[in-house]
């Protein structure tokens, strides 16, 4: 059971909810403990609340072309087929721009003299470890690198078990609705959208619903965080669209203060545990209904 926690707007409480779910489920002694993946590789924050012990670390990145000058005839075919302008032939020399390369391998396939091999251009790291019964993994993109998607893709390939299974797997996505968020949602059984009841929250929630439900065809549900601030727009929208509001976390200064210190919601206010368990049960039910 893979749940992606996303939001559209940043700072609505994705990490609070993802960590809260993982910790609540950890205590309920499922056959295997939950797995929590921080897919916000640009600004990963879940570890600040879970304090995992990292057991394994790998460098990840893009496969970029390396040209063997002996075999290269400077014919220019590689530059011609590259859609990203990541390879250029200047006179007899071939120049490669790793930060533009998407690692598609088309240049390698098209080189008539087999002069190209691909080498790893490191753009980040992936790590896995444990925080008590919670298995944890995260990706971190190196500063100055533009592309988050390959890191998220490799993180998922590395730690996600093949096939379904009952084990709760929770992915914490980045804000926004562009390609890194899509990569974090792809393959999920359910997308949980955390929003706040404000015009900004609503505006970006609509966009997130467009991606998760309309483009990817995934079942969605909403958590309203800081409930009580702002206006009733989110409630009206969810009612009109038939999107279930599965949990409400009231606006509470104690939660904000605990968050500011890196203290998880469950640690600060243990009474939320049952609400998270109920949330998980509701998600399981909705995901199962969609499968049927």
């Amino acid at each position: 059971m893979i749940i992606t926690v996303a939001s559209g707007k940043g700072g609505t409480g994705k990490t609070t909810v993802a960590v809260g779910l993982a910790l609540s489920l950890a205590e309920s002694a499922k056959p295997a403990g939950p797995l929590c993946l921080d897919c916000d590789v640009e600004e990963p924050n879940a570890a600040l609340f879970l304090h995992p012990t990292i057991q394994e670390r790998r460098e990840v990145g893009q496969l970029v072309p390396e040209v063997d000058a002996e075999k290269c005839t400077a014919c220019g075919r590689c530059a011609e087929v590259c859609q990203y302008h990541a390879i250029a032939v200047v006179g007899e020399k071939v120049l490669v721009f790793p930060e533009l390369c998407h690692g598609c391998g088309s240049c390698t396939l098209n080189c008539p003299t087999e002069a190209i091999r691909e080498v790893l251009h490191v753009t980040g790291t992936v790590e896995r470890g444990r925080s008590g019964p919670v298995e944890f993994a995260q990706g971190t993109m190196n500063v100055g690198e533009p592309m988050a998607v390959p890191i998220i893709r490799q993180l998922k390939r590395w730690v996600l078990p093949p096939g379904d299974g009952d084990r709760p797997i929770i992915l914490d996505a980045s804000p926004g609705t562009a390609c890194p968020v899509v990569e974090s949602m792809r393959g999920a059984d359910f997308v949980l959208l955390v929003t706040e009841p404000t015009p900004f929250g609503l505006h970006d929630l609509r966009l997130a619903v467009e991606v998760a439900r309309d483009e990817l065809g995934l079942p969605v549900g909403v958590v309203v965080n800081r409930d009580g601030v702002g206006d009733r727009g989110v409630d009206a929208y969810c009612a009109a669209e038939g999107i279930p509001i599965l949990m409400r976390i009231p606006h509470d200064r104690r939660i904000a203060e605990a968050y500011s210190e890196g203290i998880s919601l469950l640690q600060a206010l243990p009474e939320y545990r049952q609400q998270f368990l109920d949330l998980y049960t509701a998600i399981e039910k909705l995901a199962a209904e969609t499968k049927e």
């Binding site: 559209g8 707007k9 940043g10 700072g11 609505t12 990490t15 916000d40 640009e42 600004e43 924050n45 600040l48 087929v81 859609q83 990203y84 998407h102 690692g103 598609c104 391998g105 088309s106 396939l109 098209n110 993109m141 500063v143 100055g144 690198e145 533009p146 592309m147 988050a148 980045s174 804000p175 926004g176 609705t177 562009a178 390609c179 890194p180 968020v181 899509v182 792809r186 404000t198 015009p199 900004f200 505006h203 970006d204 966009l207 467009e210 991606v211 309309d214 483009e215 990817l216 601030v229 702002g230 206006d231 200064r253 904000a256 203060e257 968050y259 500011s260 210190e261 890196g262």
Partner: protein
């Protein structure tokens, strides 16, 4: 024309609130141009009441399309695609355009020449009038790539108009994160103002966004939003800034008037006088001093 970008690393720290307030305050002193560089979740328009003057399509990239009549279902495209974008079928294969990165590897390898590359309409961009000046903003369609390209386009348009009309300042509301849209938003800017919240996450993310703007040679200032939520963490951020030689230009208090103003669809500084507005006025004075009087960056 000077160019200022509002960034944060972490999402939801108040970039748009600060950008709208600075736009309001700056526009009372001289002509400005605005750009919303958060193209996949653009919010600046929600507090500026823009009147759209121009709408343009944005075609950022291409996607592979398989002609089912020509496809022999040989599976070569599936084998060469590294983005899991090819969906096998008994009679013809298909391409998931959301997963396709437009690399054209399948197009070149298809033995039946059944695959063509089609330009994709990835989004739209707009030129609008607001009461503070022209606003350039955009909407990247759900789940699309090329947000960096669209950010660059929006900024370029804003810059051109600003230069033509003699605007003194371009204010860019940036996206969260540190990846491609952020790099596009910061490139060529005279100054970045980082809006940070006094939390462990805020601090962690500030270090990464500062490293990013440093990497691309953009000077930085920091403002703490909701500073009184955790005064000790705010002091920690102030100490970090001092140590790193980055100027801290303000501590904005937490106040429900910020959300009230958002609900009213106005910048908070226009909505009310009070501690938040006072703090933002101070931030603006410091930004202005740094930007216009100390002469950071060069004339472009």
């Amino acid at each position: 024309m000077k160019q200022l970008v509002i960034l944060s690393g972490k999402g939801g720290t108040g970039k748009t609130t600060v950008a709208a307030a600075l736009a309001h305050l700056a526009s009372r002193e001289f002509p400005i141009v605005l750009a919303d560089a958060d193209v996949d979740a653009a919010n600046l328009e929600l507090v500026l009441d823009p009147a759209k003057q121009e709408t343009q399509d944005f075609t950022g990239g291409k996607s592979a399309v398989i002609d089912p009549a020509e496809c022999t279902a040989c599976g070569v495209c599936y084998d060469v695609c590294r983005f899991e974008a090819v969906i096998p079928g008994d009679e013809a294969y298909r391409v998931d355009s959301l997963a396709c990165e437009g690399c054209a590897a399948c197009h070149y390898q298809c033995p039946a020449n059944a695959i063509r590359m089609e330009e994709q309409r990835d989004g739209q961009w707009f030129r609008s009038d607001t009461r503070f000046g022209p606003l350039f903003h955009a909407h990247l369609f759900a789940g699309q790539e090329n947000s960096g390209k669209l950010v660059t386009l929006v900024k370029q348009q804003a810059r051109l108009l600003g230069q033509d009309t003699g605007a003194a300042l371009l204010v860019v509301d940036g996206p969260p994160g540190i990846g491609c849209p952020v790099i596009s938003a910061s490139s060529g800017m005279d100054l970045a103002l980082h809006v940070v919240e006094p939390t462990v996450s805020g601090m962690h993310d500030l270090e990464r966004i500062l490293a990013t703007t440093d990497h691309f040679g953009v000077q930085s200032l920091v403002a703490i939003n909701k500073a009184d939520l955790n005064p000790a963490r705010s002091d920690g951020i102030a100490a970090f800034c001092a140590e790193r030689g980055v100027e801290l230009v303000g501590r904005i208090p937490y106040d429900t008037v910020v959300t009230e103003a958002m609900v009213q669809g106005r910048p908070v500084t226009e909505h009310t006088d009070g501690p938040v507005t006072e703090a933002l006025r101070d931030v603006w004075e410091q930004v202005k001093k740094r930007l216009l009087l100390d002469g950071v960056g060069g004339e472009r």
